[in-house]
């Protein structure tokens, strides 16, 4: 079996905690597209740079708080990113977050770009692709509510009002979507060391 010689995200995060700027740059290369894509769609291109920069400065500042015993770096960093991006988005009002999250849902409903950039291709691991496929395979109504909750930071009541569905239905769809994604994450194991 081929073995990667690149360090894992968790090992890099530990080095970032010790002030290793090269490790920090590597984590940026691996994760910047995700953060930037989210920030662009929720906050707009004009503020995406600033938000992305702030997310990574948080990583630089707080990497020592990451504890691999409590979970994978990807999940921890997703939480860091969400805190910053949704925090900014909430200052802009619900309507903008609603529209942006609907656009993200439409995007995720489409087939992925058949010709991603070399950068995108190189940093996307097989596990990433499997997790993305798990999102794509969610029933449309479940994907919609989880996207609105996660990317748009909308409450279940806000989602229920937006899609004109009973709150109980939104809760059930969210719960089902979360369970399926959790299963996918568990099924595909921990993040492997990435190839260069």
């Amino acid at each position: 079996m081929l073995r990667s010689i690149e360090p894992s995200d968790e090992a890099l995060a530990e080095r970032v905690g010790e002030g290793d700027i090269v490790a920090f740059a590597t984590l940026y290369d691996r994760y910047a597209r995700r953060v930037y894509a989210w920030a662009t769609r929720i906050l707009g291109p004009g503020d995406a740079d600033d938000a992305t920069q702030e997310v990574f400065l948080r990583l630089w500042d707080r990497a020592r708080q990451f504890d691999p015993a409590r979970g994978l770096f990807g999940a921890w960093f997703a939480a860091v990113s969400r805190h910053e991006i949704i925090g900014r988005a909430r200052r802009r009002g619900r309507e903008q977050r609603l529209v942006a999250s609907e656009e993200i849902d439409e995007l995720l409903a489409q087939a992925p770009d058949p010709r991603p950039s070399v950068e995108a291709r190189a940093w996307m691991t097989e596990r990433d692709a499997l997790l993305a496929a798990a999102v794509r395979e969610l029933p449309a109504e479940q994907r919609r509510v989880i996207v609105m909750a996660y990317f748009g930071g909308l409450s279940q009541s806000e989602i229920a009002a937006a899609i004109s569905a009973p709150l109980g239905t939104v809760k059930k769809r969210t719960s089902l979507a979360l369970a399926k994604l959790r299963r996918a994450i568990a099924q595909h194991g921990s993040a492997p060391a990435r190839e260069g």
């Binding site: 081929l2 597209r33 995700r34 740079d49 992305t52 994978l72 990807g74 999102v135 979360l178």
Partner: protein
Amino acid sequence: MVKDRDLDETGEALLAALAEHSPETPTPALRERLLRKAMRHERSQPISWRRSALIAGTLAMTLLLAASLAWGLSANRTLAQERTLLTQLQDAAAKDEIVFEIVDARNVIKATLRSPTDDSPTAPYGKVFTRPDMPYVVAMAGRLSPAPSGQEYHLYLDDRRIGTITPNESGFGYFVYRADAVGIAYQQARVVLEPPQTMGASGRVVLTWTGR
């Protein structure tokens, strides 16, 4: 009420999906700006450290600042030297469309070559990309040391030497090879350091991969 923790647990999958579907890419300028800022950025420290730092006094702080500046300069140099294989590939690939045709293909077959002697994160490594429906082979290697005088890095697929990898100043090199036929399934790839005229892979094996 859905908890933030529940959402964060699945955020990894959602972000991977968004990245897969999104063409947006941050500019290289943002990366440079961020890294510069990070090196200047004061990292938050535990309170006890702050107290100790105050007690240490102005002289210690001055020394620390000087050391930080020196470290920052050193880190900058290291960064410049450690441009990723990816960035270099992009630079090089801009000149050669066929690289994209192979590397970006959904049916690409990729072999990762590694050093038989060095398992460290800074060890040299290589990749060989092929497509079952095209005759081209894209080969690349990174972190190679400059070849000693009178020697070259030769790439062998199975027992056939198919090309020479000439690393640039940061140790990256690549080339595109057109095979005799489409759909050749290679079982072995090696990068061998040897004199230019050698054809039999008799030199030192720097990188290797063997198919199962």
